[in-house]
Each structure stands twice: as C-alpha cells, then as structure tokens.
Amino acid sequence: MVSRSLFDKIWDFHRIRAMDDGRDLVFVDRHVLQETTSAVAFDGLAEMMRPVRFPGLTFATQDHIVSTELRRDVASNPGGRELIGLMRANAERHGIPMYGLGDPRQGIVHVIGPELGIVLPGTIVACGDSHTSTAGGLGALGIGVGTSEVEHVLATQTLVLPKPKTLRMRFDGKAGLGITAKDMVLHALGQFGIAIGVGHAIEYAGEAIRALPVEGRLTVCNMSIEFGGRLGLIAPDEAAFAYIKGRAFAPSGEMWARAVAHWQTLFTDEAAIFDRELSLDISKAAPQITWGTTQEDVIGVDQAIPDPDTIADMDRRQRIAAAVEYMGVTPGKPIAGLPVDVVFIGSCTNARLSDLEAAAAIARGRHVAPGVRALVVPGSSAVKREAEARGLDKVFTDAGFEWRSAGCSMCVSINEDIVPPGARCVATSNRNFENRQGPKARTHLASPAMAVAAAVSGAITDVRRLA
C-alpha cells in the first residue's frame, strides 16, 4: 500500500473522476448556505432553470447580517431585511432545511456545522464562506467557496478543484499558562506568514495539537484560511468521535458503529510524504496579540511594537510603517498598557461554549473598565442557551458586558455592530484588516481570556497576571 496523508485519503475517496484539465471532480457531502453569499447563486440557478441536486444534503442558516439584539426579529435591522428574506424564500422554494432567525438551531455557519453533527470526519463540506476550514477540526475537508461555486454545488453537489499540495505544520512542546488554541495559531501566523498556505491543504499535527480539546482544534483550523490556502485539518480521534456522538445529524444505532469504523481509518500513514513540512515549538510562547493590519503582525503580549526603522527590507519597512500609522501604535513601546475602547468576544473562531467559559473565568468578580464597550456574542443560539443554563450570561452582565444573540456581529460588521472610527478593539475574531470592524476601526486579535483581560483593565493586558 502506498503511504498517504489524511488529506489524500479523504480527497481520493471523494474523487468522482479526473477532468480533462487535470482538476478533480469531487463529491460534496454537506453544503451549508449563509445569507450573504447565496442569493446571487440562486438567481443563477433560476436563470438556467436548474434544480438543486441534493436539497437533503444542503443546510442553510442566517448569521452574517442578522441583528444580535437580545430580542430580535427581521425588523431589528432593516438593512438586513432583503438578504434575510431572499435566504428564506430560496430555501423554501428548493426544500432546503433552514435554521434562520428565530430557529433554535440558528448560528454562525461554522459553529452550527460541528454542533449539529452536519460536519463529520472524512466528509467534504462546502460553504460560501472562507472559514469553512473550521470543519477540519473534526477531520473534515472544509472548503470555502465563492458564489459561483455555491451555485455549482447547488446544481451538481460537486466541486471541480485542482488538488492542493500538502503542508504539515507541527506544534511541538507543551502550551504554557494562558496559551490557548488561538494563541497557537496566531503564533504560527507570526512565524510563517499569511501566504505560506497558498495552494496547500494544511495538516496540523504534533503533541500540542493532539492535546487540544475538540473546540480548540476547530479554532486552529478556522484560521487556516489566514495562511492563504483553503484547507486545514486535524486527524480525528476518540475525542472527536465523542464530541459528535448524539448530535442532531450524527449517525446513530447501527450506522454509528459503521461510521466510527470508517473514521478510524482517517489518519496520516507513518511514511506519508508532504510537499512541505514546518514545525514550531510553542512551549515558550506568551499569549499572542496582533498589533498591525494582517494576521502575521502578531507578538507576545510581553513584547514591544516593531520599529519600522530597524527593518532593512524596504518593502517590509513601508508595510510595517503603514500598519503602525493605521493602528496608532508607537514603535518600540510595549503593547501591554495600550488603552482599548471596545472588546468583542465572538465569531466562528472563538464563540463556542468553551470560549465563553474561558472568558467568564476571567470576568467573574471583575468589572469592565469605565469607558469600554464590551460585547459577548455567542456563536450559535444553542451556545447561548447552554451558556445561560450555566449562568455565564449573568457572570458577563454582572461584569458589565453586553450579552447578545448569536451571529457574526462585529467580526464583519455588516449588521449594525460596528467599531467607531479610530476606536481600538480587542477582538476574538480572525481578521484585523483595515476597516474590517468598521471604517478606521483598529483591531487587535487575541484569545477570549486576553479579550476579557483587556476589557476589565481598560488596556491590553497579559492575562497571566489576572489568572
């Protein structure tokens, strides 16, 4: 038998045929839709009078543009009404199950996928959203696609893709105090840069990855896209199977045993060869936080803002100088102590139950600093209910945080949750691009615990001092 990587095994399994042009036609097991990237795809289908090939393998939710007010309906944000209405109408017309506004299963696509058992090990999951890579945390190939490809999946339940190259990224060492999955992936972005993954499927491996709970693995895979590629995955194990068992769409009874037998074949063979291998020791890493406008602009919270004048490469010097200017930070000055205006705990990266628990552990018995607006936006309606059942909402509201309904919210700011111009925000999301959280907003990415530390201190703070 030829040795194969986990990625190769899953890809080969789904290959229906090779196309003449060298690309592969692969089967899509699960297609998840969200309201902002599907409307035009349905228009395309209608124009050509094409049906949805497998509505039963297709799921829809509403997350990007919905209001996150506690008591909300379609009238809460008039700006979202059109896309919310189109998603509902299109799902109804084609018989696609829809977990939208008001449905108990509503939530961010990449949160509800694993949570409902839509995402299973060894599957190919497609969604018109780049962070579909999250599914890799359960050993699935999560492929984020554009709207034309959404239309293609709707019409054919397949994708035509060039087979990516493979990259293995090992995380060695034991994570120190305060180091979460988010810190690990941010640290890797700082080390390897945001283009290392272009054209590659990334398999995360190593002792520190194995030690991560399933929700932490989802966080790491979520940010695979930040490396420039489309895909990231982690071999599923007993912890992954236990996570899936009993979920709404997970197999049960006799099917469960057969599914697990299949999933147990999903690992990288000892002698498998990757196109590229990288490794990183995380044992000495401090909690990470971004200081600039790309995800590779990241440092330990105990470090100082880089000084562009000390950088030899002209291109890089200019880019760093522009980021320093945009972010309003001082070269050479420690990042800790930088005052913040807004704190956002949410997004498909860090708004699952364990994230909210980690945040609440720091928030408990403390209070948001004067002048800081701090929001907690659960990743799904189910996360919200479960958090409330455990009293986390009370911990947050007692500490002066806003407790909101599930959605993308301030991660992408296409609803009404926006960081004011010039304001500085510590966010648990995944993108610190210029204007991402609103015009002229300044974003620092960090873990949920680090975000709470900033909220209660009114400034960027090393969470290890509060723990």
Partner: protein
C-alpha cells in the same frame, strides 16, 4: 452563469503593487448588504473615498488615465481574506479584465476566472517593470493570452503564467456547471455506491 469569452486587448494599467491586498479592501462589507449594490462604485471604496464620501485625489483609480483602467497591477498574495466573490464582481464592473500579481490567495484566484477575469502571475521583477511604465501618458499595455505575454508601452514583452485549462476556459467563456453536468452519470454512480458504503452521509431520514 456564463462569463463573457475573454479576448486579447490593449488597455491602461493601474498600478497598485501592494502586498496582501485583501477582499475587504477590494470591496468593503457595506456593499455586501444588498445584491443590487453598486459594486463598481464600491471597488476599493475605503481607499477611493474620504469620510465625506468625496474622492481621494491621490488614489490611483481616481487619477485621469486610470479611471479607464482595464488592467490592475497588484502585489503578492492578492485577494487574501474573505471568500466574497463580490471582490471579483467589483473589479469586473469597474472594467478590470485582467489582474497581474506575483501570487493570489486561493479562493480569489478561482473567483476571478469564474467571472471572466484573467488573474495572471507575473514575476516581481516583471511587475516592477510594468509598474514603472504604467504612469506615463497614454501608456497602453497589450494582453496576449495565447502567447502569455503582456506587451509594455516600451515594447518589452513580459511573459506571464496561467494554467492552460484556465486560459482555454476563459477564451471559450465556459459555463462550468454545464461542463460538470456532462458527468451527471458519474455523479449518480458515485452516490449510489457511496450510499451503501457510507449510508450515514446520504440517509438523514427524518433527522433534518
């Protein structure tokens, strides 16, 4: 939907040779709120307009020749970030038919071709040369897809890279869905076999 077939052309090239231009910059989120938003106006909106919505005179696409640009000279890792295909739509609606950059993020690359935009790879050195000429008055660049050559106003020809299958599909203006539907029987056969092997994938019963 079927893109318009790509044909060779000569046009003005707008230089924007920054690394890591992300799709949030290409088309900001507010333009995603409605399928009928004016994407041509939204292209690079945060760089093109100031807080009052007035044009920023220095920004390249606001300068005289470049308003009519059909070519964009970008930097490494062009189109990183979100999967929003509106980034490709905005470029197309503005009139950009061809982007040159040393590398592209994966999803943008796919989206560009699906919308009839040639996303060609050009070495850094060649790109620098093109950028140095782009500002001159009436500087026209000619794109020759068959020969994979960008002819500069100074006569120098810069070779670019694009996979053969992408170039051919672009020239034909392929409808990708129609192409795939030719293999409907293969897809059906896969599903029939897989339905027995992995029934848990296909048989959701009344769980949905």
């Amino acid at each position: 939907m079927k893109p318009r077939p790509f044909t060779n052309f000569s046009g003005i090239a707008a230089p924007l040779p920054l690394k890591n231009i992300n799709t949030d910059a290409i088309i900001p989120a507010p333009y995603l709120r409605s399928p009928s938003a004016d994407l041509a106006a939204g292209l690079f909106a945060r760089w093109r307009y100031d807080d009052q919505g007035q044009e920023v005179p220095d920004f390249v696409l606001n300068r005289a020749p470049f308003r009519a640009a059909e070519i964009l000279l970008g930097g490494e890792n062009f189109g990183c970030g979100s999967s929003r295909e509106a980034a490709a739509w905005a470029l197309a609606r503005f009139g950009i038919r061809c982007v040159f950059a040393p590398s592209y993020a994966d999803i943008f690359y796919e989206n560009a071709f699906r919308n009839g935009i040639l996303a060609a790879k050009l070495s850094l050195e060649a790109l620098d040369h093109a950028v140095s000429l782009a500002g001159a008055e009436r500087a026209m660049f000619a794109v020759d897809l068959e020969r994979r050559v960008l002819a500069c106003p100074d006569g120098r020809e810069l070779g670019f890279e694009v996979p053969a299958f992408r170039a051919e599909a672009l020239t034909r203006g392929d409808d990708d869905i129609a192409t795939t539907l030719r293999f409907s029987e293969d897809i059906a056969a896969f599903v029939a076999r897989d339905g027995r092997e992995r029934s848990w994938i296909h048989d959701l019963g009344d769980r949905a």
